[in-house]
């Protein structure tokens, strides 16, 4: 995690930093428009700032805003936030072997900073957890560099969006840059036929199941895509395919 200075000195930190840097403009535009959306939907400046600085989860923020404004009970808002975040629970199962060597508080901080793209870029770069202490330190430094710049571009631009909300028209559609950032990473992950299948199935399922509440369509889509890909694998007893670098 990036608050630890031991991570900054490693070359992997810079690698992670630069891998995320090329996506950062998309993240920034997306954060900006999330900031604008929070204020335009009626939150006060202070509330919107607190949310930008603390919550660090765009989709759960956007899902919670209407509930907050409607005066919904806190447990309903928190349950909603958790459900919208369920994909992170799946990611955490994947991340577990990479981080279990850390003390618990460091794992929790690392988890906090591991948003969608940080996770995706990390497991793309490291197909397997390292088996030496040196390797593990390098992987954590990569995660820190990549998560750090992601956090910084998201948070600083959502704060900017909150402050400038009345001057930035949502009609321009700048938030679409965020979708394009995700699209670029999506393309970079399409390295095998089954991954194409996974993308196709997940995209179709997410559209078909869009009517589900709490963004559960995303979770259903991941489950459907993973299940189908496992069924289509020819030799299920073999080790996972290793990505070509």
């Amino acid at each position: 995690m990036f608050p630890l200075s031991a991570n900054w000195r490693r070359p992997e930190f810079r690698q992670g930093f630069f891998d995320m840097l090329s996506v950062a403009p998309g993240i920034a535009a997306w954060g900006l428009m999330t900031g604008v959306a929070m204020v335009k939907s009626g939150m006060t400046t202070l509330e919107a700032l607190a949310m930008s600085l603390l919550v660090f989860a765009g989709s759960s923020q956007l899902a919670a805003i209407p509930l907050l404004l409607a005066g919904a009970p806190m447990w309903i808002i928190l349950a909603t936030a958790f459900c919208v975040n369920l994909r992170f629970v799946v990611f955490s199962a994947h991340m577990r072997p990479y981080v279990m060597h850390l003390p618990r508080w460091q794992r929790l901080v690392t988890g906090y900073f591991t948003a969608d793209l940080t996770y995706v870029l990390f497991v793309k770069r490291f197909a397997k957890p390292a088996d030496s202490e040196e390797g593990r330190a390098g992987q954590m430094a990569y995660l820190a560099g990549n998560g750090g710049i992601n956090w910084f571009s998201w948070v600083s631009f959502s704060v900017l969006g909150v402050v400038l909300a009345n001057f930035i028209p949502t009609a321009w559609g700048l938030g679409f840059a965020g979708v394009l950032a995700l699209t670029g990473i999506l393309c970079s992950l399409a390295t095998s036929r089954l991954r194409w299948v996974s993308a196709g199935v997940a995209g179709t399922t997410a559209v078909a199941a869009f009517a589900l509440p709490l963004k559960l369509n995303i979770l259903v889509a991941i489950a459907a895509a993973v299940a189908l890909c496992l069924l289509l694998e020819k030799r299920p007893s073999q080790a996972p395919e290793v990505e070509t670098p």
Binding site: S22, V23, P25, G26, M43, T45, L46, A50, M51, L54, A57, S59, Q61, A64, M74, I77, L78, A81, N85, R87, F88, V90, F91, A93, M95, R96, P97, M100, R104, R107, L108, T110, G111, Y112, A115, D116, V120, A127, W172, G173, F176, A177, L180, L182, G184, I185, S188, A190, S198, A202, G203, T205, A206, F210, N217, A225, V226, C229, L230, P240
Partner: protein, 124 residues
Amino acid sequence: MMEFFSSGLSAYADTNTLWTIFWMAVITVISRSFFFISDTPWTLPAWAQRGLQYAPIAALSAVVIPEVVMTQGLFIHTLMDARLYGFVGGAVYFFWRKGAGQAVLGTIISGMAVYLPLHIGLGW
């Protein structure tokens, strides 16, 4: 400056709302750390470990595709939508460059270069 602040920014915050925001941050930590909060030794079954390699691309696709082909929860029934061409433009750039160098940045830039004129200029 004061005028600027009084025009839009407000320092007011509801205490309940601030608590809710704080607990939402805790939810972020819990959901992102869910399977590594506990120290108890535990490993995923092998099939699940294999399956997880398909999860990242599935998650991205599940987020991206509805953002491109749906409006307010409904499938769009028009080809005059700037998002379609922005998405295709970005993806074409990526595969044209074969993902080399700053391909993701290029995807964002070329996608927006297609999207913005159609969206702002033509209102698609």
